[in-house]
């Protein structure tokens, strides 16, 4: 199975040791971005993984490419052009302080690039699976063109498409997001996360017959069926997070496949690094589906993948399959020597 994904790579700058941005004297460098995280995690799981993006042809862009290559992600299709790398500043949460993000990603090389003449057929040909997210169309009109072209070409080439709506209130508003993303759904095979496609508010308050942020199996099942009736997915999944503090969360997920809804185990865990938890769920689920795991195992594996990510600094779950399986099966947490 050959995997490819398209999206914006982000330079992440975060103070060390849970310091505050206002008072820190240095930033730790990581690279992230929803799709890059999925590409890197899958490569670490042994999947042939390719990433397409646009990066500036300077030392920051080159550092990002080196990061991808070091993680076995094919970077040869990346376009080096434009001025700036999308950036975000992360104040990592701890204890009762939640993590905080300052985005500085406007005018990035990826968002500003003109994709009208980009040969997406050339980019996508030969791949079996394409992963996309709802962040890309939120970035710029150029990026909406890119995404639409990618979806159409993928359909034509018979590539499986997974899609994470990944709603970000700081990038666009709820209704616009829902309207734009709805037009993409006919091209999507696996939907990972349902906001803002189903109708409730971004702040999680129930509206009309909307869904709570921590829904019951019954409600979730109903909403999955409604979405499935509307768009006919191969699978739909959604995580549920219980943020007991900035340092300790629980996570579980629901997966809908072949008319059934599966509910994972709920795992409680301390948090070393919160960012990329959702992307590690995506990479875990994509891997599980690529390997044709049973739906119940698949959703457990995806949750374990996400939980594992929270124990690793940086945006990405750089872990091998055995470690995730071991965690999923709840083997001993004691030292291995």
């Amino acid at each position: 199975m050959k995997f490819i994904t398209i999206g914006e790579l982000l330079l992440r700058l975060s103070p060390p040791n849970y310091e505050k941005i206002r008072t820190t004297n240095s930033f730790i460098i990581n690279f992230g971005g929803a799709e890059a995280n999925v590409a890197v995690s899958l490569a670490n799981l042994g999947v042939d993984s390719t990433y397409f993006t646009v990066l500036p042809n300077n030392d920051l862009g080159k550092a990002a490419v080196a990061y991808l290559k070091a993680n076995d992600v094919h970077a040869s299709k990346i376009i080096l052009d434009g001025d700036r790398i999308g950036t975000y500043y992360l104040e990592e949460g701890v204890s009762v302080r939640s993590s905080k993000v300052i985005y500085d990603r406007k005018y990035s090389a990826f968002a500003e690039y003109d994709y009208t003449d980009t040969d997406l057929e050339g980019v996508l040909k030969g791949y079996d699976w394409l992963h996309l997210s709802g962040i890309t169309p939120a970035l710029s009109a150029n990026c909406q063109i890119l995404l639409e072209k990618a979806l159409v070409v993928a359909k034509r080439l018979g590539i499986t498409v997974s899609f994470d709506p990944n709603y970000r209130a700081s990038l666009w508003d709820w209704n616009t997001a829902r309207d734009v993303l709805s037009t993409y759904m006919p091209y999507v095979d696996i939907l990972i996360g349902i906001e803002p496609l189903h109708l409730y508010n971004a702040d999680g308050k129930d509206v009309k017959e909307g869904l709570s942020m921590q829904p019951s199996f019954k409600d979730m099942n109903r909403v999955f069926r409604e979405l499935d009736n509307q768009f006919h997915f191969r699978a739909i999944a959604r995580t549920v997070r219980f943020a007991h503090s900035g340092s300790n969360n629980s996570l579980m997920a629901f997966l809908h496949m072949d008319g059934e809804t599966y509910e994972s185990n709920t795992m409680n865990f301390d948090i070393v690094d919160r960012v990329g938890g959702g992307d590690a769920f995506s990479s875990g689920l994509i891997f599980a589906l690529m390997k044709n795991m049973e739906p119940q195992t698949a959703v457990n594996f995806a949750v374990a993948s996400s939980v594992m990510k929270h124990s690793i600094r940086g945006d990405t779950n750089i872990t091998d399959e055995a470690s995730i399986t071991r965690l999923m099966e709840n083997k001993s947490y004691d030292i291995r020597r």
Copy 2:
């Protein structure tokens, strides 16, 4: 409301990463001191805040002043004179290890300064609120003169006075402290913390009709009434801490105002940095009273302020009002982006 406080600023030196003093190779620098912590927290909450102290006219004194200015605390009244900055070494606790302090504050510029000719009327005029603590009179006879002058002048100028007894067994003994501080109470409007004014031992063992370290509402209410009858405060408050480990505590507080005793919510939290937790309760309570919050809200806000502090490195709660309110109202701890 213009706020001023008087006290000793301390240079804090603590090993990084919860290392032990005996084996560390470096010290992280912070500045603290009970009153400075209150001044800095209030300035971060937007209050016009001034700090009066004495610091040596060398690069350590200048670094302390720069810290205050960077945090919007007015430092123009500070006297640069004398030889040394009060210092303490902090071994930060973690897990089952509790935090440990080595004081090296004797002979500090603040303690050695002769305040007999200091124009305290010039210092205090134009301010609405003065905060003092019981640490100052424990430092030296000079400092007792300073504090007595400050209380008398504040009374004359009609300034609201808050006072945190802040008993430190390493600086003076229980009975002396109680006797000295009792003479200050007629000048005090808001009392934050009651030890050693009420009669039990410093190590928390009950004596006669004394109060336990974790008293019931009923006992606390009784003691508040006794103190109020004796000294006629505008408000009295006292926190109750449950130290489950060096890394995890719970905190709640009682507040007595207008004849009623209010009990806050109890909050459980992990600890990043234990020091200054009490001062953040003081700054939270002072802020709440300045803003005329309802007593029940005020005590909850003060507890949330203290809890938030424990998640921040350094002695001070450098947080804005919205974040504390958000914590008090128990909003989501998940990442904000």
Copy 3:
């Protein structure tokens, strides 16, 4: 009481801040090794403590010796000879990630040294207590000779011998270990840990009438009696660990003395550094027995010693007696100033 121990000192290299070995850019240096950890902890408790080993005569060997001396361990008997210092790489676990060890200790100066002409009588004379572990015979045939000589000489000199089997699956297999170690037992007075002497598998699965990893008092009592009948120890102890996560464990222990089995309190604790937890139990127990504490107190003290270790970076419990007693007696965890 003069204490001596013989074993391999290890250079420990671990990434900072719970980073992964694959992505870290630096290693923090510590020194460890089961017996060195016991020697250093006992010296920190005030015991006259000596360590015998072989180290290469280069700056790494000298750094190790300096570490011992700085901790008051007598190092004058150490032989400086050979090529390399035994090394291990430790990826410290956190949250759901368990700690991982890469051993690079083969061909060490200690394992390669020819002990046939070593004057062990000269080494051991004048000491009251000798501590050994099952790691040494697992290292090389040379080391088996060393251990056998040490046991025979110790018996002749009337030295009390404590022994920690310390089974490591990466060094030798279960059956070989059991067979070799069983021949040592007649020379042993205090046995700390029972695997692989009693018959169950290294992976903890019950075989026949074997013992579970978290046995009941009744089962433990039975096994202690069986071992005692077979080998006639002065004391046998065994810890039981509950690894709730990589960052939080509980620990308790059983101690068998004079025909009785004692069960300690169970302590729950967060983990700063997992390695050396077992050695801190050994040092705590040896200290308690040297001081003739009551068996119930002894086992509680040993558990508190182990628990305290988990809050300290590095392999060793560098703590004084008062702090361990304080923890054992469950005094306040709040800051001491």
Copy 4:
């Protein structure tokens, strides 16, 4: 003398320990920008110093303001508005490697702000000295409006204006810069640096009767006279740098006042941090002229100020007057204790 300056504040991110941007894992944070550097250096010399700029109202903007306040620069006129802080990445040179800059300052809050309604009279009133640089008009049309307004208002208010053309080839081209800056010269009293006002190429190659990068006294004198005849300055200065390597330079300067050209001593020095060397010359010269030093002393002081800066990490010469004088007078470099 009250000093004010207007310009863009920059967040500087540079790898520690002379690492390369491509391979570093963290960035040290400093704040810079030509005018901010001058403001901070003058405040450290004891001058009443104010800085006007536009910064985003987020934690990065607030950190920048805290930096200014900690250095005694008045920040109350700063406008908090817009999205991003101007940023640059600095790879610090060492040995044969020269320092390298990646600018990421486009679309900054300062460049994007609409100054048409800004009350510059309100900003500048009450000040004696205004410092500006040629970087500002290179940033945006908005900034050109800002600068033109500032010059006109300063003239009307009788404020002394110093100007550093500070040509940056990455921001605009030589001819545009020369044409724009020439229109400012009638408003300028003190010109610090002459490129691109005099006619030679940005790469330093002689064109026609242009000036070499390391001119003789005779040539420099001629060019000063030509510029003076054209624009009638109170003073003109220009530094000459000899970059022997990335770590060792020599520096001298020429100053033209009252029809005379003065030549400073040439100082050789190792470089800790190259950036801000020119700004420290400006602040040194402004300070010297404010204090009415003799021209020969003034140019020596300005060179010493610049040289001192190269020994300090960060963009700014945070040094007191005595230290610069001591260096200028070539006192002992040995330890002071």
Copy 5:
């Protein structure tokens, strides 16, 4: 031109900030090894570069592979097998202290691997250039087999072979080295460094008609001719280093091609990191010859490549061609922005 090299990759551990091994608390991680350094430098210069080695299949081996990939070196032929990665400890010299190395490379996966069945034709086919060094045969008998097979296969496939004798007194003695390496010379096209092929002692003392460490052009020319007469090389080169201190050296080189001896410029430079200086000369020379630079330019380029390396932390010259050319042409060392 497709380049390949074979050799042992080394894990380098060095104290930060020029600390001593005996007193440091951490090691900075780098990867090196003579041949890996050449492969990485050539890849950074844009050459299609492949590296063949054997590494243990653990996280240390994987980190090494990630380092290569991040630097664009093809790593797909690397064999993951065996126990340990060759390691060395480097105490970096500074001022009057010279750098010191402790080798811990015995028993490495590369040295222990049995190459008798390795398909070297499969490894080398399709490449134009093979680089080898005299370190490999010094490691083990296995490695001598590997090297001999590689030379024979390369000859058969018509691959250009460059060879750096790289004599290390700590690995083998002078006479053995000379005897073994002499048998390789008939397969070598380009010889980089002549010791121990020519007859003088390893400690540089002249013996009989041997060569001084800092020979005159005349002597060097004579020796080159003798070697050329004996072995018929396409080119022979040799650097000459003047170690003025641990922090400052000068370097020049001689190159013999087509019967002529060329002498480079002598460059003086400060040293950030001494290790890999020779390998950067090799990569520079190989690159220059691949590009068919004139001999005089080639030797200057190779020296500039080596000089540049000394300004970069780590073993490798990770620099692009333009920067080396700029240094060779002695362009300005001042900041580029």
Copy 6:
């Protein structure tokens, strides 16, 4: 030869990376003090070395003792008593910035201790060599008593006494120092440094027939003779330092023995850490005299010891004899591997 020295141990706190005290966020910890530096250096040279001081019985005192033990200095005579450890803050100089010291050593445990009942005969018995410095009597009246007792006892026991006047203008004035120290000279065998015993001013300005800071051989010879006539020393030495910058110095020394004056080579060197340079000269000279080196060799060895120290972080020359000899003999500075 058994060596002992008496003096105040100092905790040294210095910003990393040549940062300024005013802006640093951490301090690197070292231990120093003139006599401790000599004790540690001699132990590193293999001399049996003992240090006597008073330190507070807290974790800072214990860390200091551990430092001594790790360096093989006998610490068993140290008295643990009193409140504070003498402390100094060091801003390390670099380039044109000189190092700066802030002393915070008043009221130290060593200075405050009452030595009237101290059994100095018990302390000194069995030693062959006692080293003292002029810093001790500058600290307190208690310390003057200590020093006087030590001199008298040493004389009685026939111990060789070396003395370094080590004048510090911040501790006492020139004339007092000269008067006090002159009374010690009859007890002194080897005088290392002559200020303030000979008559010129502390700032180095010539007075009357005083000596310049960089005297000629002739002047130095004359002064040595005068001092020798007055006090009859076994040897007198004095270093001459040329501080070209904060980072680069030259050093030479004169030694007077048996009526002859010897002049060392002048060595130029870069400076990593300036502090302790004089103490390393003392330890080098004491070692050379203990080993009965020829006077010319002795003074060269002492200068090389001092020069080596400047390349090592911390106050002490932790170097073995071979490395100093190698430096003295001007062997290659290139890497040793």
